[in-house]
């Protein structure tokens, strides 16, 4: 996946380990041996990057579950998924 749009269906790599926490989650990428910590909304977005949900779906879902955003919900989702992508956590 190179360019994201509302119809894109991001798909997390199966190899990435996900560990839920009380206040978010952590991801561990065994390939790069790196750990990433996620706040609750980023953890929510990660769980919805299942190849079934489009970014539009994720934006809708996040509006239902979270109320406070630094940017708009859509910007938050795009920013987070772009970050996952740049960290090579998503399947191509």
């Amino acid at each position: 996946m190179s360019t994201l749009d509302l119809k894109s269906k991001p798909f997390k790599k199966n190899s990435i380990l996900f560990k839920p926490l009380d206040d978010g989650a952590i991801l561990f990428d065994p390939a790069s041996e790196t750990v990433h910590t996620l706040n609750p909304s980023a953890a929510f977005i990660w769980l919805h990057c299942d190849g079934e949900n489009s970014i539009e779906d994720i934006v809708y879902q996040i509006k239902q579950n979270f109320t406070e955003f630094k940017q708009s919900p859509a910007e938050a989702v795009f920013y987070t998924i772009n970050t996952f992508q740049s960290l090579h956590l998503l399947s191509e």
């Binding site: 380990l17 926490l21 206040d23 978010g24 952590i26 561990f28 750990v35 910590t37």
Partner: protein, 286 residues
């Protein structure tokens, strides 16, 4: 003359051969709790000789240092032996932390240099805690046990210890950015007791020095706790094989807090007593 040092898990045996005149300095160096006259089958051999006005230090027959100052050569010996002992903990995590035990439970105090690890160690030893290490926290990533490494305590100029007392102990002058400071090696027994066995880790406190007169303890969220813990481990490659298990065990077994603490050696006794009992509270009320 021969001395020996035995420490670690499994134990590493180190033999020291040195001029008789250095015996006092060596036993007063960081190894006062570990050094003995026992004969050992050494894993590592050190030898110090005095030749042409200089001390020469050899490790396994290979010269590693030379210096005219006996303190300098013992300082070099110390750090090599520290590395030998730490390297022998092949399956344990190493953290820049003070570790103490109270009633067979382990506590880590993590912070950068100058955040008060040594001061909190001394203060709590005076409240009946036992020192495991004031500089290196050694943690088994599976059992979550903390291991002792009872080096001597390095007393720096900001520690409020009587200068007359300091003169009884080995010192070395270290250059910092702006000046030259004397550091003194105090045996842990000067301040209290040391723990000899590994104990299960119960709590971690991240130290924040503050200028206020009272301390504050704040529970740390899981995400921040993991971020801070991972930053503090110097050999985190050890946990990458069983990362999920490590995190699961960590979250189940260890509580993590931030400790905002003025110099504990300047706290009134009553406040220090309250701090000591609050740190071991289950559950800890912040």
């Amino acid at each position: 003359m021969r001395s020996s040092i035995t420490s670690g898990n499994p134990a590493v045996c180190i033999s020291l051969q040195h001029p008789k005149s250095l015996y006092q300095q060596i036993t007063n160096s960081v190894f006062s709790e570990l050094v003995s006259n026992q004969k050992v089958i050494p894993d590592v051999q050190y030898r110090i000789i005095f030749k042409n006005g200089k001390y020469l230090l050899f490790r396994n027959n290979r010269q590693t240092h030379q210096n005219r100052s006996v303190n300098r050569i013992i300082y070099a010996l110390e750090w090599q032996v520290v590395a030998d002992i730490l390297n022998n903990f092949k399956t344990e995590l190493k953290l820049h932390a003070a570790s103490l035990t109270f009633q067979q439970k382990g506590y880590l105090f993590i912070g950068n240099s100058g955040t008060g690890k040594t001061s909190v160690s001394i203060a709590l030893m005076q409240q009946g805690w036992q020192l495991l290490s004031d500089e290196f926290g050694i943690l088994n990533p599976i059992s979550f046990e903390v291991y002792p490494f009872p080096r001597n305590i390095l007393i720096k100029p900001h520690h409020p210890i009587n200068q007359i007392e300091k003169e009884n102990y080995l010192s070395i002058k270290l250059r910092t950015n702006h000046n030259i400071n004397a550091i003194y090696y105090f045996p842990p027994s000067y301040f209290g007791q040391t723990g000899a066995k590994q104990v299960p880790l119960k709590k971690i406190f991240f130290l924040h020095p503050v200028a206020s007169e009272s301390y504050k303890i704040k529970a740390m969220g899981q995400r921040e706790a993991i971020e801070n813990l991972l930053r503090s481990i110097s050999n985190s490659n050890l946990i990458k094989v069983n990362f999920e298990q490590f995190i699961t065990n960590f979250l189940e077994r260890v509580k993590v807090y931030e400790l905002f603490l003025p110099n504990p050696l300047n706290l009134p006794v009553k406040v220090l007593q309250k701090l000591s009992s609050q740190l071991v509270q289950e559950p800890l009320k912040c």
